[in-house]
């Protein structure tokens, strides 16, 4: 394996604890939120202990240091995805980053001519996919409701891939925006985003990528993707909660009206009106999440030191092994691609005649922590005719032994409920 997960695990204080009657913790829920290495915890603590102050204002030493720390985090995040710092907007999370774009688009209706290209209305189409997390579906549904635009979507094939058979019809001259995931949080599927982005560009549509499950797990270079916006969350990539990122093409951010308004994002304010700062500050109203951004910067350093190619290879190995082990168990059905090709380390499955809640309960009793439910992507469950799934998701600290424990736990659940 390309990483040394047993060594990496030592950096994570939480992974040292035991659960439910003294069992060692086997954390297979990084797709929901990742645990944090001590380097990230230290960075946040050091910021508060040494440098805390309001950023981008004030002339004292601490204000200077805090601003430097905040902007250094922005530089790190930009380098991590092949962007320039002025294209990095810190948000609360990926959900807010996507909403930022969706609300900027409806605000375009009441903005100047520079915002013309963001306007949508009746006759226009927003294209999404059936495999989106609710965070990349509901904001677009709502945008359509506010503006009269029409929502359309790609379906899913039986093996959990994006159904591209209607690509030419779905991406058409009415398409104003295409929003899709770079890696499904339920199926693990990695859709051909470059292909879809190229097609979208032909018709002049904007492309928004939900990268919440991709940026933490694979090398991502925004210059190569052909997308216009990319959203991800800090807490899923070893960073703190409360910080997310919107990357946007510089010329688009420059023309885009703000979403949240208030302090820190204005150029000048009179009682009659306000002018706004250039990006990224235009999109960071109010006191920003400075300590969280600093923590995210440390997480980026940690991942960069491991090497994202290595992280990806490690997870591919884990995913391949998990597909193999789960495939050996009668009654277990993987929901999603059956091979590691164009597929990441989120493995959802059902167990015949045992509800995911009950599977999860038995696993939890054994110290194996997985996610159960619809994973904020209910349309996928409906597509496959199931109420919910159990999902194991992997990260840098997971071992093949963790997957053995998962497989053993599933067999124990089958034994306990008398289904095998």
């Amino acid at each position: 394996m390309s990483l040394l997960p047993e060594e990496i695990k030592k950096d994570f204080p939480l992974l040292q604890r035991t659960v439910r009657g003294g069992n060692p913790l086997i954390y297979l829920d990084s797709g929901a939120t990742s645990q944090k290495p001590v380097q990230v915890l230290d960075a946040e603590r050091e910021f508060y202990e040494r440098h805390n102050a309001a950023v981008h204002r004030g002339a004292h030493l601490l204000a200077e240091e805090a601003t430097d720390a905040f902007e250094a985090a922005r530089d790190k995040v930009a380098r991590f995805i092949g962007a320039v710092p002025s294209e990095i907007v810190f948000t609360k999370n990926a959900t807010e980053a996507i909403n930022l774009v969706a609300y900027a688009m409806s605000n375009a209706a009441t903005s100047g001519p520079e915002a013309e290209r963001f306007k949508v209305g009746p006759g226009d189409e927003i294209l999404v996919t059936e495999m989106e997390h609710h965070a990349n579906l509901v904001p677009w549904q709502q945008l359509c409701r506010r503006t009269g635009a029409t929502l359309r979507w790609f379906g899913i094939t039986d093996d959990g891939r994006l159904d591209l058979s209607e690509l030419d019809a779905l991406v058409n001259s009415c398409t104003k925006l295409v929003a899709l995931t770079q890696q499904s949080n339920v199926l693990g599927t990695v859709p051909p985003v470059e292909l879809i982005a190229a097609k979208a560009r032909e018709v002049g549509a904007l492309v928004v990528l939900d990268a919440a499950q991709s940026v933490p797990h694979m090398p991502v270079d925004v210059a190569a993707l052909g997308a216009d916006f990319l959203a991800f969350s800090g807490h899923k990539m070893l960073g703190p909660t409360g910080v997310g990122v919107l990357w946007g093409r510089g010329e688009l951010l420059a023309a885009m009206p703000p979403f949240i308004t208030g302090g820190s994002m204005i150029e000048t304010v009179t009682m009659e009106g306000t002018t706004f700062m250039a990006p990224p500050q235009r999109f960071e109203a109010g006191s920003p999440n400075v300590a969280q951004a600093v923590g995210l910067g440390a997480a980026v350093d940690y991942l960069s030191a491991l090497g994202m190619e290595n992280v990806h290879a490690h997870e591919q190995a884990l995913t391949g092994y998990a597909l193999e082990r789960l495939g050996d168990i009668a009654g277990v059905r993987v929901i999603g691609p059956g091979t590691t090709e164009a597929r990441g380390g989120a493995v959802s499955f059902t167990v015949d005649d045992i509800h995911p809640h009950d599977v999860g309960q038995v696993l939890d009793e054994l110290g194996v922590e997985v996610r159960v439910g619809h994973h904020c992507a209910k349309p996928i469950c409906r597509r496959f005719g199931i109420p919910a799934t159990t999902r194991a998701s992997f990260y840098v600290h997971n071992t093949l032994g963790d997957i053995d424990a998962l497989a053993d736990g599933i067999r124990q659940a089958q034994k306990f409920f008398g289904t095998a």
């Binding site: 009793e365 439910g373 919910a388 306990f416 409920f417």
Partner: protein, 152 residues
Amino acid sequence: MQLEAMYQEVILDHYRNPHNKGLREPFEGEAHHVNPTCGDEATVRVHLDGTGRDAVVADVSYDAMGCSISQASASVMTDLVIGKPVKEAMGVGDEFLALMQSRGQDVQPDEDVLEDAIAFAGVSKYPARIKCALLAWMAFKDATARALGEAS
């Protein structure tokens, strides 16, 4: 393992052989409840004999989809409330709610009132599962209110 404490034999029996499952006529009130965190669903129908608070729960039927805890709880609920005056049935529901909200602390559940439902005491220690156990009960409460004309 704590599993046996949670999945009591009574619960597994009701799960495998649910009582009163399948929607029936007649009914005066119906309610559909979902657990947004896991997608579990329950539809409960209530048929009352009589009117007002003196009415008696003549029949309860349901259709539900979900985990063993939610399915077993629906089955147990129907056994407990059918044939009881509405007021008494609600009292059992309140007792069950109190048991579920106890987080396993200091509970002296009344076995005479709760009967099979006492088996869910172990579930109350797992916050994520309490909603599963309460789903059908909450739907019953709503359906009854509708049957009484107290809610729309």
